[in-house]
Amino acid sequence: MSQTLRIGGAVGAGLRRAMEDDPKVILMGEDVGKLGGVFRVTDGLQKDFGEDRVIDTPLAESGILGTAIGLAIRGWRPVCEIQFNGFVYPAFDQIVCQLAKMHYRSQGTVPLPIVVRIPCGGGIGAVEHHSESPEAYFAHTAGLKVVSCSNSHDAYWMIQQAIASDDPVIFFEPLRRYQEKGEVDTSGDLSQAYPLFSTKVEREGDDATVVAWGSMVKVAHDAATAAAEEGRSLEVVNLRTLSPLDMEPVYASVRKTGRMVVVHEAPSNVGIGAEIAARVTQDCFYSLESPVLRVTGYDTPYPAARLEEEYLPDLDRVLDAVDRTFGY
């Protein structure tokens, strides 16, 4: 069974199905109830599941995460919404010191099946703190799993898989793509869905590999389409999982193409692209025809909205980097 859903709507549909399947799943966040979230991802859920399961919280992110941890210890499965990427920092201690470490500290006796949903990235002309890509902070923290969806089908299934995970999952949603439509195959169940912590080659090619996640996957596809017109065949790898990384499909691709460009919105310095480059260098050293190159946001604070098109990686910057991999 297939239906056309916007990415935001697909997350909402996935949340709805998870709540139907498991009465312990609850949603918590600012404005997630009556308003349905500022992006309407949770639209209609409070009406259908009640205020006990779709909780409009006080406006304090550490409180959202901290109480979610208590609820999870009690046996609930909270899904927390952080309204915007740059608002997650007040919850940082609860995420990296408490959420990430409880299972380890407790020697496996206290799992925390909590999902933290965060709209990620820029491109919507917002004021500051609304356009950030904080995924590296969380991928750096042992005990957390970090994933990033980029299309409607993945959004629908990945959110359900994240909720079913007994480990805490930081779930990044591509903010600027919320309104983009896509086909979602809703048939089957979680066990048949593409595995959550698995990377996927979405477009096959021979000349160079472009790795991306979240909002940048579309940029990578657009670049591959444009490159094809110029006679160059790019392989597009949608990373999907940022922690743990699923490197085998990446290695296989690089061994085939010999060239790789990693694209992400977050700044380059100590970013996830650096980790991927290091691992590819270690495991595919003799296959590489050029260094791994990165196309990323700049190592500046996220700029004012009228400058963000300059800041964000786009098709031209990706193609420019691909060209440079052929210059070695």
Partner: protein
């Protein structure tokens, strides 16, 4: 020991504090629930009382003597190199035993790292937290089984966990009767400044969560006196959040028992949170790494020694002929035995296997962690048979 009636609590004590200290300035004369004076005199309070048998009085005394003795063993073990660090509860026995003994079996405790006395009241083997302080584990235990959560190091973080857990009790429909469940969150005066503690007050209030916030105001956050945390008495804060706040003499085991019992019962019956400020004093150092002589004088410590929670209870038991010298000697001997037993077992605690580094990072496993485990094992295996 307590000197008798000529040395009553109240304004006279102020002179004994010697040099003017900010800790004293933070706390003007306020309404403090007290049922047992520092001199061991049983007094009444218009709202709170306890109705205990002689045996129950003796048991409270016994609890305090034993946890004090075990705590001293913790300090000694650290000094002898058997522990990396120890956080002493010395002086706070009444606050911990009184509140701990107020809990019902079904209640849940969210402690800091100093709640060894509360742990004792949950009938948990006192050795349990020693793995943390010896550095052989991170203080992990099955917190749901013991109904006593793991010690939390980050100041105040557990207050939110407690509140969330309490919200979960409400969602489970487990409030409203005598068999209802409630939660107690422990923290100190320093934590009262943390955002998490204040956020937990907001959450507990607006969701009417069955949680009691038990703040042991021991006057110091390491070196900083409570005046650095609050200009107004801490218990008054609750009013602004919309639930009751009570200050109780934290060195009075009867008063802490009475006040906590009432607060927990209110919570379990669905009447929402209470903030309890147990006014006490950290007689020892913050931890074994601390040197309190750098920030407080002996006069202040001596003034608080006169309010000692254990000796005032002993005086009471003696005066009321509830216990005699033989009894006290017997308890001391029992405490000594507990301490020696603890000592032996702590020293015998084995170091963890090196590979334990990689255990339990994730519930569902991680290819990265497993790869590093394999590399680690291969690295160590490469030395087998060689001198190293």
């Amino acid at each position: 020991m307590v000197n008798g009636d000529q040395n009553r609590a109240g304004p006279k004590k102020k002179a004994a504090r010697g040099r003017k200290k900010p800790a004293a300035a933070a706390t003007g004369p306020v309404d403090m629930v007290q049922l047992l004076t520092p001199e061991g005199e049983r007094v009444s309070h218009p709202e709170y009382d306890v109705d205990l048998s002689d045996q129950q009085y003796r048991d409270l005394y016994r609890d305090m003597v034993i946890v004090r003795r075990l705590d001293a063993e913790g300090t000694a073990l650290q000094r002898q190199g058997q522990l990396g660090i120890w956080a002493s509860l010395l002086g706070q026995e009444a606050a911990q035993i009184g509140s701990g003994r107020a809990l019902a079996k079904q209640d849940m405790v969210f402690p800091t790292y100093r709640e060894h006395g509360v742990l004792w009241t949950r009938d948990i083997d006192p050795i349990m937290p020693f793995g943390l302080f010896r550095g052989i584990d991170l203080g992990g235990w099955d917190s749901r089984k013991y109904r006593f959560q793991m010690y939390t190091i980050v100041i105040g973080a557990q207050s939110l966990h407690a509140t969330g857990y309490a919200m979960g009790i409400t969602k489970d429909g487990k409030v409203g009767g005598d068999d209802g469940e409630a939660v107690i969150a422990y923290f100190g005066d320093g934590a009262s400044s943390q955002g998490d503690v204040n956020e937990s007050f907001v959450w507990a209030s607006v969701y009417n969560a069955p949680v009691v916030f038990f703040c042991q105001n021991n006057q110091y956050a390491i070196s900083e006196p409570v005046i650095r945390q609050a200009k107004a008495p801490l218990y008054k804060r609750a009013d602004g959040f919309g639930f009751p706040g009570v200050r109780v003499d934290g060195n009075d085991v009867l008063a802490t028992l009475a006040v906590t019992t009432r607060a927990m019962d209110n919570a379990r019956h669905g009447n929402g949170p209470t903030f309890i400020e147990a006014y006490t004093y950290r007689m020892g150092a913050h931890t074994t790494t601390d040197d309190p002589t750098r920030y407080r004088d002996s006069g202040e410590v001596e003034a608080w020694r006169a309010k000692d929670p254990v000796s005032r209870m002993r005086t009471f038991l003696e005066r009321q002929s509830i216990a005699d010298t033989d009894y006290f000697d017997g308890i001391d001997a029992e405490a000594q035995q507990h301490a020696l037993d603890l000592r032996e077992r702590v020293i015998a605690l084995p170091d963890p296997e090196p590979g334990a580094i990689f255990d339990h990072v994730y519930s569902g496993g991680s290819p990265l962690v497993e790869r590093e485990r394999e590399e680690f094992q291969a690295y160590h295996a490469s030395f087998e048979g060689s001198e190293h």
